[in-house]
């Protein structure tokens, strides 16, 4: 085993299947498909899942785990993850420590008295593996249950009512604001959120402009048609900003025949 180059993982099982092809070796850094290993490792739902995989795929008996082999393989995976500088959940390291501990206890000469009290050092691990496996199966069972919107759909008939109208729930504005604040807090934690901070008056105008274009059957509109004289200079500025924003997002086109002439707004219509 010491003969193997560093980038070869001595496992019988392929590391991953990529496009259906088994992936047995950790390729040179240059050739690592950046997402492949990550995807592979992400398919594990934690250290117990990874251990179960190692045991099951080598047809080992869960009740008589060869701790030495498993520990070694487990640690290889952990090192692999670390080499890739993947964010490694602390639980994986805790498990590695636990395995190492079991291994060392198994290597110690057995003392009959201790045996009585402590039992097999592996028993706690086995219990947890079995417990996890039960729920892993249960989850698969739940996933297979027929469910609404995938296997079944509600069968409904329309009720045409004259007078009776279905009462609608009331909503308070603060409930909406609180909900939004919650979203913002969550979004802050996510990296790729796109929260734009245009003033709301511009956003509102953007909607109004789009709505008008949408109902205009593809007609052009003149710039001044999007605001009223009463709105004054502020109205023109807001409208102008809204148009620029929409243009930037590719939602409309702005055309002008010649300098200083009327500015026309043209909806983008798919051919």
């Amino acid at each position: 085993m010491s003969e193997l180059p560093d980038n070869v993982i001595p496992l019988q099982q392929p590391l991953a299947l990529i496009d259906g092809k088994p992936f047995r070796e950790l390729p040179d850094d240059l050739y690592i498909p950046p997402d492949a290993l990550e995807v592979f490792l992400e398919t594990f739902e934690g250290p117990l899942d990874l251990l179960l995989y190692l045991i099951k795929h080598q047809n080992l008996d869960i009740l008589d785990i060869p701790v030495l082999t498993i520990t070694q393989q487990y640690i290889e995976y952990i090192e692999l993850m670390q080499n890739l500088r993947m964010e490694l959940a602390a639980e994986y390291l805790v498990m590695a420590a636990m395995l190492a501990e079991i291994k060392s206890r198994m290597l110690l000469p057995r003392q009959t008295i201790d045996e009585e009290e402590e039992g097999d050092p592996r028993s706690e691990l086995i219990r947890r593996l079995q417990e996890y496996e039960r729920f892993k199966k249960a989850a698969e069972g739940i996933d297979e249950l027929p469910r609404l919107y995938r296997d079944n759909f509600r069968a409904t008939a329309e009720l045409v009512m004259d007078k009776v109208s279905k009462p609608l729930p009331d909503v308070e504005l603060d409930a909406v604001l609180l909900a939004f604040q919650d979203v913002l807090k969550r979004a802050e934690k996510l990296k790729n959120h796109h929260i734009e901070r245009e003033p709301l008056s511009v956003r509102e105008r953007m909607s109004r402009i789009l709505g008008k274009l949408n109902e205009g059957d593809g007609n052009f509109f003149a710039f001044h048609q999007f605001f009223t004289l009463e709105e004054g200079k502020a109205g023109a500025v807001v409208t102008f900003l809204a148009l620029l924003e929409l243009c930037k997002e590719g939602l409309l086109e702005i055309v002008q025949g010649e300098p200083l002439s009327e500015v026309w707004v043209k909806p983008i219509i798919e051919e």
Binding site: R154, V164, K166, F180, Q181, A187, E204, I268
Partner: protein, 207 residues
């Protein structure tokens, strides 16, 4: 196979939330099994006959076919709605808030911010309520609809313009308790107790 086509049509008409046109019904089938218009029409006629004696009927309206409750049962059935309306869920309020602040927004925009999928039902409810409407389509693959709030939304929440909503930046820095205060500044319309109500009802559920 003969009954299969009819069964599929029947199942789909019951599952659909809007009337289905003959073309839409044809499109349920893969190209190679697709029944022609006559075939579909024959099945629909057969279904109409089958339901003649039943309390529901298959009728044709402008945009297609749908099952509906026969008028003479409406008075009983309408009692289903006599009780209190259901409360809107968190998902709906969040979706509404995102559309209000980020309009015009596509479903994808909303999902990106919320981090979870937005159900068609949520959007539909908002549109039925006339709080949200489609103002256009984004010119990217799939041409997703762009949603914006309506005048109805402003009216319902007693706002004159969207600018009456607290600016995003303020909202981001706030801590939950302060939202009540904005409420006070903003609008007369909402008694503060409501917020308390919500809090206490959450607490109650969790006991």
């Amino acid at each position: 196979m003969s009954d299969q086509v009819k069964n599929i049509l029947e199942a789909s008409l019951f599952a659909a939330t809007e009337p289905l046109s003959i073309v839409e019904l044809q499109n349920l089938f893969m190209l190679e099994d697709r029944p022609d218009k006559h075939r579909v029409r024959d099945c629909l006629l057969a279904l109409q006959e089958e339901y003649e004696e039943k309390p529901i009927e298959l009728i044709e309206v402008a945009s297609g076919y749908r099952f509906q409750v026969k008028t003479k049962y409406a008075s009983w059935v309408s009692r289903l709605w006599e009780e209190k309306p259901v409360k809107y869920g968190r998902a709906l309020l969040e979706t509404l808030a995102i559309i209000a602040y980020q309009q015009p927004a596509t479903r994808g925009d909303i999902e990106e911010i919320r981090g979870v999928a937005v159900s068609t039902n949520t959007i539909r409810t908002l549109m039925e309520r006339d709080w949200v409407r489609v103002v256009g389509h984004k010119e990217v693959p799939g041409r997703p609809a762009l949603y914006a709030t309506t005048v109805g939304f402003l009216d319902y929440f007693n706002l004159q313009t969207l600018a009456d909503l607290p600016p995003l930046a303020n909202l981001m820095d706030l801590d939950m308790r302060e939202v009540g205060e904005i409420q006070l500044e903003l609008g007369e319309q909402t008694p503060i107790e409501n917020q308390h109500h919500e809090e206490s009802s959450t607490a109650r559920t969790s006991n």
